[in-house]
Amino acid sequence: MTMLTRRHFGALLAGASFAVAAPSVLRAQNGPRLVVIGGGFGGASAARYARMAYPDVAVTLIEPYTSFVTCPYGNLILGGKRELSQITHSYDGLRARGVDVVHEWASEIDPVAKTVALADGASVAYDKLILSPGIGIRWGELEGYDEAASEIFPHAWMGGDGSQISNLRRQIENLPEGGVVGLAIPGNPFRCPPGPYERISMIAHYLKQHNPTAKILAFDSKEGFSKQGLFQDGWAELYGDMIEWIPANLDGTIVRVDPAEKVFESEFGERHRVDVGNVIPPQFAAAIARDAGLANETGWVPVDPATFAAAAAPDIHVIGDANIAPPMPKSGYVANTTSKVAVAAAIADLRGEPAPENPVYFNTCYSHVGADYGISVAGVYRLDADGKIIETPDSGGISPRGPLADHAHQRAREAVYADGWYESITRDMFS
């Protein structure tokens, strides 16, 4: 585009003494309409990037909550290292960039008419839709786990209004001396693969200081997990025998929960009584994506790996945890980096131009294992000759393993870099 727009922009600047932000805000009224559903790591990044890169595009962000509570760093609330206010972000920065932020639930998408119906009855038309709705919980798939049960056994796996993570923190603070915290961890795929294990670590970090005879029983539907060796090294070094991880092959799969009795029941009928239960339930794409017919039989949304256009609706680009994009993890960083390619591809398509060539996607996930103890996994992703996403060969991977004594500097630096990542990426979403 940029020739025409830049010329106009320059002319406006030259002839006007008013603020430089004004022309783009005004011009966007008549430009293409980009609507973004979901104001999280994918959607907020997309809206912000679109305003920066394409000042002539009118951007509407539909997000029901008036502020955003991040899932990343939620575990640090459990560890007593952060407060809820420190992981809660305002949409005012996006408004100041000219994003029309609409705080309402998107109730339905009509991919043919290209409209989004809102819960208040309004309808928003789009030329391109960026859909970043996050996950939905498969209520009831784990028997006994419904919304009422999640008040007793919080999932704390969606930011929402922050009440879930606050609930879990309160329960851990009130754990009887020497009590048992149980976690039920789902099979793949799910949001934030290392998240449950960082959570175990941060709960242990808190208990070690305040309730050192307490126990953590982590029941897992899998036999292995992200950064497993690094986590288990850290647990042994920092928390002794406080943490017991029970994999699927040792009857770790929880198939039924009884909130009234505070019981997790395993596949082979073992009933484990817990004082505090954190159920990280089975997931799929959020309802708005499934109801629009975008998901396949897995419950997640197949997309074009080069543009993130939904297989079922080419003018809807689906980013973030809701889509199917292996081998990339369902992470905030992936949602952030892919959001920009999705926006660029969407705008290029509207202009009849080709999508960005040879896109590169990027991920780094830091996890806090203890005080001054961070670990990471990094990945640089691209498309192979067949257009499939691959991790760039011989790159990426996890922090080096080995005794803490040999790696104290690395672990301490990665804890600091994790904080830097959080600060920086939330700026890239909301500032």
Partner: protein
């Protein structure tokens, strides 16, 4: 929707017109190129870094950045995470990153 949109944008424009020098310059600052967006998550959209955590990379000399990437990739320069990341980019991509970040102040 369209009315409230118009009204809200009109209000914003009026505010901006009323306060010419207070408005941020973001509308004219293009974002980093797509290849550099992976860097932005830690080092900032303009490579500004985070004090005490992520080092700034804006204004990094072009040749120095290319040399730094190859030293990281070959494990000739100690690093915590950049070694793993540097190996993920092609020479052409690294040159594009160096062009961009060296162009920033």
């Amino acid at each position: 929707m369209s009315f409230s949109n118009f009204a809200r944008s009109g209000a914003l424009a009026a505010i901006l017109l009323a306060t010419p020098f207070a408005a941020p310059a973001f509308a004219q600052s293009a974002p980093a190129p797509l290849i550099a967006q992976g860097c932005a998550g830690c080092h900032g959209q303009a490579g500004e870094g985070i004090v005490g955590a992520s080092p700034p990379i804006a204004g990094y000399g072009r040749d120095a950045m290319i040399a730094s990437f190859s030293a990281f990739a070959a494990n000739e320069r100690p690093g915590t995470i950049m070694n793993r990341i540097a190996r993920g980019y092609t020479d052409a991509e690294i040159a594009a990153l160096a062009d961009y970040f060296s162009s920033l102040r």
